[in-house]
Amino acid sequence: MFRSLLRRCLNALVLLGVISIIAFYLSKLVPGDEVLDYLSLDDSKYAASVDPLEQRVAYARVAKKRSLDLPLFYLSVLPSNYPDSLFLILPVSDRQTVKKWAQASNQKEGTIDLYHDLQRGLGYACPLADASPAANQLCQMVSELLHTHDLFSAHHIILRHHSLIAKDSSATPETLAILDTLNKDIELLVRSTGKPQMAKWLPVFYWHGTHNQYHQWMGGFITFKPLTSLIDGRNAWSKIFDALSWTLLLNGLAFILAIVLGVLIGLWSGRHDGLKKERVVNIILFTLFALPSFWLATLFIYFLSSGEWLSIFPAGGLGPYHSASNVFQKWAVLLTHLTLPVLCLALGSLAYISRQMKQSVVNQFHQPYVLSLRSLGVSEKTILRKHVFRNALFPVITMIGGALPALLSGSLIIEVIFSIPGMGRLMYTSLVARDWPVVFPILMFGAAITVFSYILTDVIYKWADPRVKSLET
């Protein structure tokens, strides 16, 4: 048993690794530039400066600081017509442009030459932009070219500016030399567009070692490196633990309520199966089961807290519990605010649990041991309490194991309706804002709990019922 447990734990770790890789790649596929998100956080002057060179320097600095200038993964595969250092080109918009040029021309050396010459032009012309109109024009032209994906229109841009700058008296020989090189580079590329090169069909593999973004991220993650949220600059871990405490309180209360009431109602209706009063209860539970929790919440707010009918309960939030004078008052404020959300969460699962429990109790009553207990003259109450109850609990235990991940991930919709700052809402706001430093820990945490809760359920099951021999199925 110990060996199979160990094997399953290892399996779970492998799964977690795969999940982290998929999540990482998915996050990189989302349109938008991550470095730009960090720029506003790390460099407040960035937005003010319009000089393209200064922007680039700031960009490169932030990318280096956040290790976003590294390749994505240990290994990368590129088609043979892409330049070798493609994944090192920054900013990301430049990388897209170079990729398009390489795709069109199939000339990887020529493309990278053009890119380097463009950068040289940027470095030469932009600092002089205030002094000479020709340099200013060159600087603008280079920035425009770096956003032009189509080679032919890039060529046209160069030709247009070439004639203009050639007439300009302020043009230095260097400016003209740079312009000529750029023109030569791009003509080479334009000439080779559309000609497939049969010899270069095999992709090229690159090995980057541990110096890559995934490794850095995962390493920092395992060693609990402090992560900063992009939205407000707070520590991501403390944000998560705050949200987690509210979710645990809310869902824990709902969970306990649902389990206790559900088991009791299940026992009662299993005992009175088929009677009229049981059928009424059954119909009510069935209706509760079909009730969408967000509709129930909206109805609660409309009838009980909006003041249209009654306003017994507060409509949302957690109340002024900070300013409470003692512990009792604090909890009184909190509980009045949590009553409605807890009810909304509990009612649906209560119906489900009690139905399962009832089914299981009815099944137990059909077992032969109940008949023999009855024939021995044991009272129905004792049979129910001492024998049926224990045996009927197993399906419920399995369910508790399955519900564990949901308990911690929180219910987004209820948290949004009642504005409770729990895990669901934190995940939602961080995802919408592309706040990966907060999203990834929540994701990995949730995945770990899901993966390990299966194992845990098996272990509990085996401990509760020694007849379960193997952990295989």
């Binding site: 799964l15 977690l16 795969v18 999940i19 998929i22 999540a23 998915l26 996050s27 596929l29 989302v30 349109p31 595969v77 590129l78 088609p79 043979s80 017509n81 795709q103 199939n106 497939p196 090169q197 270069k200 069909w201 095999l202 992709p203 069935f286 209706t287 089961f289 079909a290 009730l291 969408p292 967000f294 509709w295 909206t298 109805l299 707010i301 409309y302 909006s306 003041g307 249209e308 991930s409 987004l412 919709i413 949004v416 309706i417 669901g424 995940m427 939602y428 995802l431 919408v432 999203v439 929540i442 994701l443 949730g446 995945a447 899901t450 993966v451 299966y454 199925t473």
Partner: protein, 399 residues
């Protein structure tokens, strides 16, 4: 007619009680509205006559501006206010996108509404002055399409994978060395093709052709039990199932909506399918495990019926009923998921309207009880009907 009645009687659970019949009728009603929604609620009339000429605007693509240029004396033409010589309107003369500026936003069903009763908003209007009834009619279509569509995709993925995982297990499917080499070779070539500098269309065509050729070769040389190299199908399938279970649903939905370049409702449908197939596969796996132990399957194995045929002829048809029951419950959970997402404003494009969207609008305007009551009860009764049918069917199959 007799045939229709006998067909209706054959519906699962029809004879087991009044509530199930009612549930079926309700679902048929919703389905009917979903199918014919644009012909029930539309601002364009079925038929109208202007200057002695007859038009069928609903069935032809005549627009208001087209009318205005044809009949300048009536310009600008408006479907509601223009005096047609004769007109035959739809029962609800508002589309789900029609903004009724005259009535205004948040009009209660019982309020004094401007105009005659023909243009009354029977269920009120929403935040932009759109008719709630028209929105709910549109909602039927969206909900059923996403609910049924996503579960069908989940079924098509989950059932074959789940039954294959249970039937062949980790050691049942064995490949000969030649077959293994064919598989490896195909995978490598497809991988290489994917990185060659040719257009995406050519790449896809070449890859599909290669995969089909490999499947044909494997098929022709089938000897799934005699080879040496076992394919751990069970582990592969269950691995994917656990991976998808491990992801938070919200993460997948939000990311896929951002990166998949398809229409909003297609992405929502595909994402719900992606999230639902694991449970379908797990269910099917458990069913086939149970069936594998039964005597008639063992007899078939002893008679040397090929395992492919056992699966196709003896297992999948017999698992049909339990799978359909979980399909019914799955559709209800897909509809619930779709309306929760719309309630939060995720996924569907902003101009789309459905039950969840209507319900969400009540949160900005607490006294709009009609926006709480009607869309919410539409969701509730649809779910209740599906649960009732699923429950009755389950009870029937347990007998």
């Amino acid at each position: 007619m007799k045939k229709l009645i006998s067909l209706i009687r054959a519906l699962p659970g029809w004879s087991s009680g009044f509530s199930v019949r009612f549930a079926w009728l309700f679902l048929f009603f919703i389905g009917f509205i979903a199918l014919f929604g644009p012909w029930i609620a539309n601002e364009k009339p079925y038929y109208c006559k202007l200057d002695g000429q007859s038009y069928f605007p609903l069935f032809t693509s005549v627009s208001e501006s087209g009318f205005s240029s044809k009949h300048p004396s009536h310009s600008p033409v408006n479907w509601h206010t223009t005096k047609f010589e004769s007109v035959w309107r739809t029962p609800i003369p508002f589309g789900y996108r029609t903004i009724d500026l005259k009535a205004g936003s948040y009009i209660s069903p019982f309020a004094d509404q401007a105009g005659n009763n023909r243009f009354r908003h029977w269920l009120g209007t929403d935040a932009l002055g759109r008719d709630v009834l028209a929105g709910m009619i549109r909602g039927c279509r969206v909900s059923l399409l996403i609910g049924l569509g996503s579960m069908l995709i989940a079924l098509l993925i989950g059932v074959p994978l789940g039954s294959a995982a249970a039937w062949w297990g980790n050691k049942g499917w064995r490949l000969t060395i030649l077959q293994f080499i064919i598989m490896l070779f195909t995978c490598t070539v497809v991988f290489l093709v994917w990185f060659t500098p040719i257009t995406i269309l050519t790449k896809s065509l070449v890859s599909v052709f290669l995969v089909l050729a490999a499947i044909y070769l494997l098929w022709k040389s089938r000897s799934y039990s005699r080879g040496r190299i076992a394919v751990p199908i069970d582990q592969l399938v269950m691995g994917w199932v656990s991976i998808i279970d491990g992801f938070p649903a919200l993460f997948l939905i939000l990311i896929l909506v951002a990166i998949v370049p398809l229409k909003g409702w297609v992405v929502v449908m595909l994402t719900i399918a992606l999230l639902r197939w694991p449970s379908m596969a797990r269910y099917m796996r458990a069913e086939v495990f149970k069936m594998k132990e039964s005597n008639y399957i063992k007899a078939a194995q002893i008679l040397n019926v090929p395992s492919w045929q056992i699966l196709r002829r003896h297992i999948v048809p017999y698992a049909f009923r339990p799978v359909m029951i979980s399909f019914v419950f799955g559709v209800s959970s897909a509809i619930l998921a779709e309306s929760s997402l719309s309630f939060l404003g995720i996924g569907l494009p902003t101009e789309e309207i459905n039950w969840g969207r209507l319900l969400a609008q009540s949160r900005n305007h607490f006294d709009a009880w009609w926006l709480v009551l009607f869309p919410g009860s539409a969701i509730f009764f649809t779910l209740l009907s599906l649960y009732t049918i699923g429950n009755a069917w389950q009870k029937l199959s347990e007998k």
